[in-house]
């Protein structure tokens, strides 16, 4: 099997939306999420030489991201804990550790439904990454960001009928990808 190589210069375009969606449901703050993603990329760059080429770039970045999110919770908990310690320890016998428990159990952070929603969102982004790059870009602008036809046409210097051909191909590819990776999973 060929070893996978890292291409940091493509990371932002290829993975930032994916990482952002993963992060935002966990930290629920745009600025914080952005900082964490930036840290993730930089940490990835720094430990580039440790990458063995066995996982995909995405998996590898997600692994780093997870650690960064945990770090973030540790940090806010250690400062928050001082203020809340008294309240939580006085309340009942063993519940003082609740804050820490809350961050450790990743799966308990969201209700099942929102987990499913999040997974679907990530599946969609993953599919977008697997289809033709230009089609994906335009599809994303039109479908996810709701940019109107005229603006996209001007930006990419294409005619509306070009745009609809691209959208058509992208929609077909996306439907196929989700069919195999989501509906028939």
């Amino acid at each position: 099997m060929d070893k996978i190589e890292l291409h940091p210069e493509t990371w932002v375009d290829r993975y930032s939306d994916y990482l952002y969606n993963y992060t935002i449901v966990r930290v629920n703050d745009h600025e914080v999420a952005q900082d964490i993603i930036s840290e993730t990329f930089l940490a990835g760059l720094k430990s580039k030489d440790n990458f063995k080429g066995e996982a995909t770039e995405r998996t590898w970045l997600i692994a780093i991201l997870k650690r960064k999110i945990i770090d973030y919770y540790r940090k806010i908990n250690s400062s928050k804990g001082k203020a809340e310690m008294r309240i939580s320890y006085n309340d009942s016998n063993n519940e003082g550790d609740w804050l820490e428990e809350k961050i450790q159990d990743d799966s308990a952070m969201n209700a099942e439904e929102s987990m499913e929603n999040e997974e679907l969102g990530l599946a969609i982004l993953q599919c977008l990454d697997s289809i033709n790059e230009k089609q994906a870009e335009i599809f994303k602008l039109k479908t996810l960001d709701g940019v109107d036809t005229e603006t996209i046409c001007n930006e990419y210097n294409i005619t509306p009928s070009n745009l609809w051909v691209i959208i058509h191909r992208a929609r077909k590819a996306m439907a196929d990808c989700l069919e195999t990776n989501w509906f028939n999973k």
Binding site: V12, Y20, L45, I124, T143, L144
Partner: protein, 80 residues
């Protein structure tokens, strides 16, 4: 006015209607076409499902500005 349309036109209208950009007349033509075209019925059903699926999630994308900031930071670090 032509009532009957070909499959590629029907698919095109179907795509447009996913973004609410098809006119009423186009939608009428599409629906007439779907009455007798099994192939396009399938395409339309799949297409609508894709729209519904995407709408059911809350995908958030980073805006270009945010991405630029991320890129700059990363590039700076790469130069070191």
């Amino acid at each position: 006015m032509k009532l009957k349309i070909k499959c590629n036109e029907s698919n095109h209208i179907c795509d447009k209607s996913q973004y609410k950009e098809a006119s009423l007349w186009e939608k009428i033509k599409l629906n007439i076409h779907l009455l007798y075209c099994d192939f396009c019925r399938k395409y339309t059903a799949n297409n609508q499902r894709l729209t519904k699926t995407i709408k059911s999630t809350t995908i958030k994308t980073l805006c270009e500005e945010d991405k630029k900031v991320l890129k700059e930071k990363l590039l700076q670090e790469m130069k070191k």
